[in-house]
């Protein structure tokens, strides 16, 4: 990596690779009639998600007393376009998440987000695989349910096992110190510490049908009597690359989830966040049945170039800006 503070952390070769990747993405969507759109980075309302922290802009004559949120993803604004009749759309956007920095995270990053009216999460998974193969070269892909990956990698059923059993298996395998939390925390420990390494040797893999407690903005459905979220994540060689939903279109249920998020935030000692009424108003008018996905472009470039540290593919990573 470069040593002088002015220098970019990446190379000219990787700048060219990024440009080629962006061109390939645009060709992919142009050939399918998906419209490129842009939405604002600074919005009046952010998200309520308890596990994602936004950055805010609090100063400036245009800001006034109300801070603006730097978007954590362009999801809400793009759903407002869909409700207004845009048809299928995609966006190459910058997104910001506070506190997320590491080998695969940078607080400011590039996100490819797209929405497909008329598709469910399984149809969208197939299109995501086609895009990834279009960018990285053709390769086989497979899809496992969340339940299957847990059963195969840690031999426990994530839906029927008791919270105590999940906690015990996590504590047994990993040094977790004083770590404590609810059911979702133990599921997340096992997913990030045991399941993801298991996926690491399996190439291009989707994991779908998450616990309903982790639905976020996805619909839920019953599978074998268990309520699951119609959500998927894509892993390529163990790198988490994309997160997609069969989108929730019910404004009342969406409002309940936002309120529940804020209750979780308050239980954890965090301030509640204002709810985006403009998104809810758009859902009330009618979001078309659709599936949507967000894909990390910097990570896709890491995979395309064989780099293992996101700072190598960013011109100027967070501490170089």
């Amino acid at each position: 990596m470069a040593d002088s503070p002015w220098e970019p952390g990446t190379s000219v070769r990787l700048l060219r690779a990024r440009a080629a990747l962006l061109a390939a993405i645009r060709r992919f969507f142009a050939s399918r009639g998906v419209l490129e759109v842009e939405t604002p980075l600074l919005c009046r309302r952010g998200i309520t998600d308890p596990a994602i922290e936004p950055l805010m802009v609090t100063g400036g004559a245009s800001i006034g007393a109300q801070p603006r949120y730097l978007q954590t993803s362009p999801e809400y604004a793009m759903k407002r376009l869909l409700a207004a009749g845009s048809g299928p759309i995609y966006q190459l956007a910058r997104a910001f998440r506070d506190g997320e920095a590491g080998r695969r995270h940078n607080p400011e990053f590039s996100l490819l987000e797209w929405y497909r009216p008329g598709m469910d999460h399984h149809q969208l998974m197939a299109e995501v695989a086609e895009l990834v193969c279009h960018c990285l070269g053709s390769r086989p892909w497979q899809a496992f349910s969340y339940r299957e990956v847990f059963l195969q990698s840690v031999a426990i059923d994530p839906f029927t096992a008791s919270t105590a059993a999940l906690r015990e298996i996590a504590r047994d395998r990993f040094d977790l110190g004083a770590l404590e939390g609810g059911r979702d925390l133990w599921l997340d420990v096992l997913l990030s510490h045991a399941v993801e390494p298991w996926l690491g040797s399996r190439g291009l893999c989707f994991v779908y049908d998450y616990p309903a407690s982790q639905a976020a903005l996805a619909r839920t459905a019953l599978r074998d009597g268990i309520e699951v979220a119609e959500r998927f994540e894509l892993y390529v060689d163990g790198v988490e690359l994309a997160n997609g939903y069969h989108e929730l279109t019910d404004p009342a249920e969406q409002r309940r989830r936002f309120e529940r998020d804020n209750q979780v935030r308050q239980r954890r000692g965090a301030a509640p966040r204002p709810i985006d009424e403009r998104l809810l108003a758009a859902l009330a008018v009618g979001l078309p049945d659709c599936a949507g996905v967000a894909l990390g472009v910097d990570r896709l470039l890491m995979l395309a170039s064989g780099e293992s540290d996101i700072r190598r593919v960013l011109g100027f990573a967070w501490d170089r800006c």
Binding site: A51, G102, D175, G177, L187, L191, S192, E196, E240, N243
Partner: protein
């Protein structure tokens, strides 16, 4: 001491964990999709040398450890303790056998060492990477054999035994890599 959050963990940072001072080796941020963020941290326990991999919730904090590395001059040993002096303040410190570890095999009086202090007391002592020590005992040298050939054990003035080329004789000073315990070359006689 200040507290450090997982966001501030960098390799080399010294923190307290389970009552022991530790040095952070690696800090990896992991976040499953929309889930809880964790930091998987590799740390070396500076008391035991053991390496841990511990998972924290992102944003959790650990207390900093009062651990500093100082370059000091080795003075002498009284058999129980090894005495070191800070060159600028002339302050003296005594290291016990545990802190000294195997380092006693490589230090002679007036050598400079890296002493790690924890709460002001030596926790560990590292000799210089290369030291020059006199040979006090080895088999007689083989005249004329200055290049090729095997090696033989030689006892140094500190008690360490190293393999040296056959031509080296008792009374000579040799340069040794303390990290590997390997002979490097002949040094000029002191």
């Amino acid at each position: 001491m200040a507290n450090f959050s997982t966001n501030e963990f960098r390799s080399g940072l010294k923190v307290m964990l389970d009552g022991d001072p530790c040095s952070i080796l690696e800090n990896e941020f992991v976040k499953p999709g929309k889930g809880q963020a964790f930091n998987r941290v590799r740390l070396r326990n500076l008391k035991t040398g053991r390496v841990w991999e511990r998972t924290f919730k992102s944003g959790e904090t650990l207390e900093g450890a009062d651990v500093v590395d100082r370059s000091m001059e080795y003075l002498y040993s009284d058999g129980e303790f090894w005495y070191f002096m800070e060159p600028d303040t002339f302050e003296q410190h005594q290291a016990d056998a545990k802190a000294m570890g195997d380092s006693y095999l490589w230090v002679k009086e007036q050598d400079s060492c890296e002493v790690t202090l924890y709460n002001g007391t030596p926790l560990s002592v590292a000799p210089a990477n290369f030291v020059e020590l006199e040979i006090v005992e080895t088999d007689p040298g083989l005249k004329g054999d200055t290049a090729q050939g095997g090696s033989k054990p030689a006892r140094l003035s500190t008690g360490a035994v190293v393999k040296v080329p056959l031509f080296i004789t008792t009374g000579e000073v040799v340069r040794v890599d303390t990290r590997t315990g390997e002979y490097q070359n002949r040094a000029s006689k002191s």
